[in-house]
Amino acid sequence: MDQAFRVDWILCDGYGLCGDLVPDLIDLDEWRYPILDGQPVARDRMGDAQRAVDCCPMKALQLVALAEVRRRS
């Protein structure tokens, strides 16, 4: 099942480690908050993506099913 990044904006404090670690997957804005494209992470990058999730000091970054990312209420 395709997975994509989701961020809990309340938890995220803009450390920006995710974007430093996988700059080709996650852009950072000028305040170092992630800019996510909502696209599925390629299968062969899932390992890197998971490392980005694991390095978040606020536990704000997640990998979830694509459908969950698009369901935003």
Binding site: W9, I10, C12, D29, W31, I35, E68, S73
Partner: protein
């Protein structure tokens, strides 16, 4: 139901709205007892009206109720949303102050339809007359309401009316939005599925339960059936809260005789999360959620503000953006930094002190904040900013290049608070 020009009286039928709140005796004499409908029948009836929520987002009322009514088991809660933190809108406080029993009828119907055992009236703490009227009306009916009932004062902030912020305020005292999922329909007050519904929507349900969907749909001049409360400000006459047939035009609303839009160049439609449009674009357009959204505008909370030819569109935009930056909940970084930056830059432009990159930056930040928060505050602010660039683009350029205002032909000061116009409230000064 009576008509005067474009005005139609459904919610506002009954005693004049400059008098005291309608009492329970008056309400009963006029409308009779609250009818009982089986939950499914009531939700079907509301569905057949097409009624959209009137808090600003315009979500279909029946769909929201059905989601919660369809839960497998357990309790549920109704939150009656009368926070009305939007300074330019006055319709909710007027309705609460003068037709409290219509709102209570709707709240009881909602609680029965979704199987809730508690009703919480969440009323803006600065809306003193409204709070008194709701409190008194609830006391008049406490004995007949099966559900637990309480009043909760909403803090006087813009974001307090956001549904998850309302739930959070009631649970923790902090009126700040929550991360979704879970939605409050899944887990709201005390962890129970919670329906947060605007007071105007509930008042219409009270009438729909009596008159039926066909009656409700008998009004409406364009695509969306029914009627709505709007708050008009900045007009030469007739400012304040009015009830209109959906699909009435701005020209009809401002002045049936036709002079009401003379000297008006732009219109803010839908409140601070709404959109600016030129008077030319919008004057003959039906005020109708479906029609407005088809041309990129929004009905929002029904607020309609007129900007006159000698008023600076850049200054008012700077004031509103600074207000929205100040009124952020402050929980999500992109919104905190993005709105503050937009607010500061628009103020510099308005005051003739624009930096070389301010306009480009504002445009970039406007794109950057969208969809990057726990609530829709950044999205609403971005929508307003983008529409201001569309409508006042030349003025923004002129301000940035010359440091002067092309409308007032002098340096302008952006007011700190966006008192677009003083709306002569028909309820109170508070």
């Amino acid at each position: 139901m009576s008509r005067m020009g474009v005005t139609i009286e459904r919610l506002l039928a009954g005693p004049p709205v400059d008098a005291a709140a309608e009492s329970l005796a008056q309400h009963r004499a006029r409308l009779g007892d609250l009818p009982w409908l089986a939950p499914r029948d009531l939700i079907d009836e509301i569905d057949a009206t097409g009624l959209l929520g009137r808090g600003g987002a315009g979500f279909p009322v029946a769909r929201k109720w059905r989601t919660i009514a369809g839960r497998p088991t357990g309790r549920a809660v109704v939150v009656v949303n009368g926070a009305e933190g939007e300074p330019a809108s006055h319709k909710d406080r007027l309705l609460m102050a003068h037709r409290p029993h219509l709102i209570i009828d709707g709240a009881i119907l909602a609680a029965e339809a979704i199987g809730a055992d508690e009703i919480i009236f969440y009323v803006g703490s600065e809306h003193l007359t409204a709070r008194r009227a709701i409190g008194h009306a609830v006391d008049e009916r406490r004995h007949e309401i099966d559900q637990r009932v309480r009043l909760f004062g909403a803090p006087p902030t813009y974001v307090a009316g956001e549904a998850s912020a309302a739930v959070n305020a009631i649970d923790t005292g902090q009126a700040l939005p929550l991360t979704k999922p879970p939605s409050i329909a899944e887990r709201g007050v005390d962890g129970a599925p919670t329906l947060v519904q605007n007071v105007e929507s509930l008042a219409y349900v009270a009438l729909i339960a009596r008159g039926g969907a066909d009656w409700y749909r008998s009004a409406g001049l364009a695509e969306t059936p029914g009627t709505a409360l709007v708050t008009l400000s900045g007009a030469a006459a007739g400012n304040g809260v009015r009830e209109i047939e959906l699909g009435s035009t701005l020209r009809e609303l401002t002045d049936p005789a036709g002079a009401g839009l003379d000297g008006v160049r732009a219109v803010l439609v839908g409140g601070y999360f709404g959109t600016w449009a030129t008077a030319l674009t919008v004057r003959d357009l039906p005020l109708d959620p479906a029609v407005l959204s088809s041309v990129g505008l929004t009905f929002g909370c029904g607020m309609v503000g007129l900007l006159r030819e000698d008023e600076c569109g850049v200054a008012i935009t700077a004031a509103v953006m600074s207000f929205l930056a100040d009124e952020r909940a402050g929980r999500c970084g992109p919104c905190v930094h993005g709105l503050a930056s937009i607010g500061d830059a628009t103020r510099r432009v308005a005051q003739g002190e624009a930096g070389t990159s301010d306009l480009v930056d504002i445009e970039r930040w406007t794109g950057l904040v969208r969809g990057r928060g726990a609530c829709h505050h950044p999205d609403g602010a971005a929508q307003l900013m983008a529409s201001a660039f569309d409508v006042f683009g030349d003025e923004f350029l002129h301000h940035a290049r010359t440091g002067r205002c092309s409308v007032a032909d002098r340096r302008v000061e952006a007011p700190h608070r966006p008192d677009l116009h003083v709306v002569p409230s028909r309820t109170e000064a508070a």
